[in-house]
Symmetry: C2
Subunit: 549 residues, 2 copies
């Protein structure tokens, strides 16, 4: 009986290995025949640039399958980033199925996929570097028996390819871990694929930030735009100015990010190929700064006397710029990324207008009553300060719109919902790189499948030259914090942000909603099984429902 | 030094006991001076009918405070419902602060609140009964040193009063558990305060249902309307017809509610004073029934031949009524509540129209082409069947609108968004009791503080006699399942459903949005601290943020 069973299993394996009908993504017009059923691309998300999936199936045995460094790889056991990733993906692939005490020495069958070799081809793997906007995230993945090979010039591509490999593994009808013969050549369409989280309107516990960095990696995002402080609270614990969080955080101990918290978040992100770009938004959105830093904000006047309330940063005092110099010097050392986001959005002039000292300064400078000139005066000096820290800067679109002189490597962040295409035209015509967020404000919610709206948005639909379009380096999904905290942020973000993830990674022509629905529904169940409460797209179920409440 | 400290503490206690400015809810026009700050009613939610809170403060020591049965109580240590509730509320009140090894024999100080006595005043406490629409939920709570007394005719009122007592306890600035001298006389404005959850469009794990029953109790809801089956899936495991879930559930083992699951949910609800009313919606919304029960649904025709798809329950076959008799006989024994919800909404006639057998039956019955007559024919027979099981029934408003003859104790469930007041007028004029859900479809989401919309809705704003208004016995918040499952249901429900909870419990005049905001923000932080991920109302924070992801 045992022998018979073994033979039957072998026979089945051989049959499974025979059928060889190949699909070629490039040969197929996926828009032509929308299917409500399964996608030929299984659960791949975001869809790789070039995919060939055959019907030949290999099995992965939890007892024998392993991820290894290829012998030829420029980077091996000493690369913590890769070893860490191997462990992570091994766990994802064999969730609960690689049981303790399993015979690790089991010999692989003929049709087993015994290992995945990871081969870093460039002499400098960048294993110990931080990712950047120029990081090479490309990879080639060849899944064929008895070994699969993942080739990437740098570790960043290897990380993306490991995720893709894990997405190719599925359970067959008998519950056996399986993978089809597959060839993939993949690279991102846009270099900047970001997610903005806001830790000022609500404090987000470290655990929540880490969990969402993890989910970002599954969706091939590579920038965490950390909108760390704003009007309501200042949770960033500054070594230089500890009074800022002491008085400006919701709570000076429980609702702050200490230097070691920040360090941990940056390293956790780096290990997943994710940049951390902090935003310290000024001169508006700074109410919480004023609680710990005297004279930083403009006192508002009611008639002839101060009203007791405060407006934007006071741009007329030298102490303001002294403070900013010291503050951004610290920021430039704490955050390794080459860029810092300086905000500059939504400056309300009413308080400046009410203040007689500001009025006097306006006269002296010859600004007459044009307060946008005062705003530009401030921003200009701030940009000069940040430039001395050797950082590049990102700014919200108003700074560009107001005609502030910007360094050539400035990234202009387009967020306003009206005249988006005109803005992209203008910014790129002026020669600036830009990223887009206007269509992707995920804090705005509505009934139904709004992921489709995010998915349909096309960053390059504006009129412009090829050179202009090349200046659009990507986009960011923004989840502002008015209505989200640890209780609801994660399900509100996923899989809605996944739609943005595919738009920014995959080819422009990947836009079939039915195919996307089929893949995304599976991708979201995978996120749920990996422990992230990604909400449902619509009626249906996952084999493994979320285990929390 | 030790003696000095002790003396200081005593002095402080005396001072705290001195100030005696009383607030009287009935004396105060809470609408007149909207305050953005704290409510004088602290974190009470829903607001009790009559509240007097004094400024005299007592301390609760985790070492000495306990909840006891009053000596005079008609119901004591043998009442599992109460003992269970005492333990629950003891834990809520002393979350993490009653540490192991603490000296339990510590003597109470003069100003300590040493115990809460629970006194059931009626001879029949109803400890072992199920709650019903006529259950007495009233209670009186007197908080005064050294004992607080909670008097209630029945255990149901005691449960409501225990929740209120726990809401009165707060931490003072030194972190000491405190409670003000308080007198409360409370009872619900409406007898039926329900929440509909839908376990067909998405399966909800038992854990999620129990957690939300718990949260319902905190908000003084008393009906769990379990929309257990519908088109997409049939998770109810029927002993009589196990094939229904075997073929109709998303998965026959992992996505079903077994008889013991159902029993557990009903008992968990009972211990919290919550009725479980199951809905088995027919003749529409029954696609999933058809998978396990041959010939139950109407075969749709495409021209002269069956199309392979199916429509509503087939009302022309005797086998249909045989099936329904057996099925509802089982339902009547599994669910102890006096009512069952029979649905009857949204019947699509197109499939009936396409079927030649149905057409023939229509002719025989003399219905001509009026398919609502066929619908009524079916419902009428179903109601007769259910009547023989000695259950009352609830039905969605269409059944009433279509003129089906209803038993006098039928509850008509008003859900349609248009002409709500007219419908309430009509239903109550016809002498039927009714509950309202139209303004409280919580599955519809929008940006911002939509809880205010739910809060403003007033069930008795329609024109009608006092007798008519008395027929409105309450309402239900509905969270239909298209877009919610275990990942996002709980934060989407709370505290939005809390707004409905106060509307249905508190006095009609309790409608000050500022006061409500202040209390509800605290109430939601309390829910978070008790482990439920209730989402934020707006920008801000909780002292104890949610610990999950």
């Amino acid at each position: 009986m045992f022998a018979t069973l073994k033979f039957a299993a072998l026979l089945l394996a051989v049959v499974v290995c025979w059928a060889t009908q190949d699909y070629d993504y490039n040969d197929t017009e996926i828009d032509e025949e929308p299917t409500l059923g399964d996608s030929q691309y299984g659960s791949l998300w975001p869809l790789p640039q070039k995919v060939q999936i055959s019907t030949v199936v290999f099995k992965l045995s939890g007892a024998s399958f392993h991820i290894f460094d290829a012998k030829e790889s420029s980077c091996g056991a000493s690369c913590r980033l890769l070893q860490n990733a191997y462990r992570r993906y091994d766990e994802y692939i064999f969730t609960s199925s690689r049981k303790q005490g399993q015979n690790k020495s089991k010999k692989a069958l003929a049709c087993d996929m015994s290992e995945l070799q990871v081969w870093i081809t460039s002499a400098d793997s960048e294993c110990d570097s931080y990712p950047s906007v120029t990081s090479d995230e490309s990879y080639k993945l060849s899944v064929d028996s008895p070994v699969a090979v993942l080739k990437a010039p740098k570790v960043w591509g290897a990380l993306r390819g490991l995720e893709t490999f894990s997405q190719l593994v599925y359970k067959d009808e008998y519950g056996a871990k399986s993978i089809n013969r597959t060839d993939i050549h993949d690279f991102p369409r846009f270099a900047h694929r970001g997610l903005l989280l806001d830790t000022s309107r609500h404090f987000l516990p470290i655990k929540v930030i880490l969990a969402n960095l993890e989910a970002m990696a599954w969706n091939k995002f590579n920038v965490f735009h950390w909108h760390i402080v704003d009007d309501p609270s200042f949770p960033y614990l500054s070594r230089t100015f500890p009074q800022l969080s002491q008085h400006g955080a919701y709570h000076p101990y429980t609702h702050v990010y200490t230097p070691s918290d920040v360090k941990m978040i940056i390293e956790f992100a780096r290990l997943r190929g994710i940049r951390v770009i902090p935003e310290f938004d000024t001169p508006g959105h700074t109410q919480s700064w004023g609680k710990g830093q005297k004279d930083l904000l403009t006192p508002c006047y009611s008639g002839a006397s101060p009203s007791g309330s405060f407006g934007p940063v006071n741009p007329t005092l030298n102490t303001t710029y002294d403070f900013m110099s010291m503050f951004f010097k610290e920021v430039s050392t704490v955050f390794p990324d080459a860029y810092v986001h300086l905000g500059g959005d939504e400056v309300d002039f009413s308080c400046w207008k009410s203040n007689p000292d500001i009025q006097k300064f306006m006269e002296q400078q010859g600004f007459e009553t044009d307060y946008s000139k005062l705003e530009s005066f401030y921003i200009q000096r701030l940009l000069d300060i940040v430039t001395t820290t050797n950082k590049g800067y990102m700014i919200w679109q108003e700074v560009f719109d107001n005609g502030v002189k910007l360094k050539s490597d400035t990234v202009v962040h387009v967020w306003m919902g009206n005249k988006v295409e005109e803005e992209l035209q203008k910014v790129t015509k002026a020669g600036f790189t830009t990223i887009l967020s206007a269509p992707w404000y995920l804090d705005y919610i509505s009934y139904g499948q709004d992921w489709q709206k995010y998915y349909r948005a096309e960053p390059l639909s504006f009129k412009g030259t090829d050179a202009q379009k090349k200046l659009v380096i990507g986009g960011e999904a923004c989840l502002w914090g008015e209505y989200v905290d640890a209780t609801n942020l994660t399900p509100r973000l996923w899989p809605r942000a996944s739609a943005v993830g595919e738009r920014l990674w995959s080819d422009r022509d990947v836009r079939d909603l039915n195919d996307a629905y089929s893949r995304l529904a599976k991708h979201r169940c995978r996120m749920v099984q990996r422990g992230i409460p990604a909400e449902p797209l619509f009626t249906g179920y996952c084999a493994h429902e979320y285990k929390g409440v």
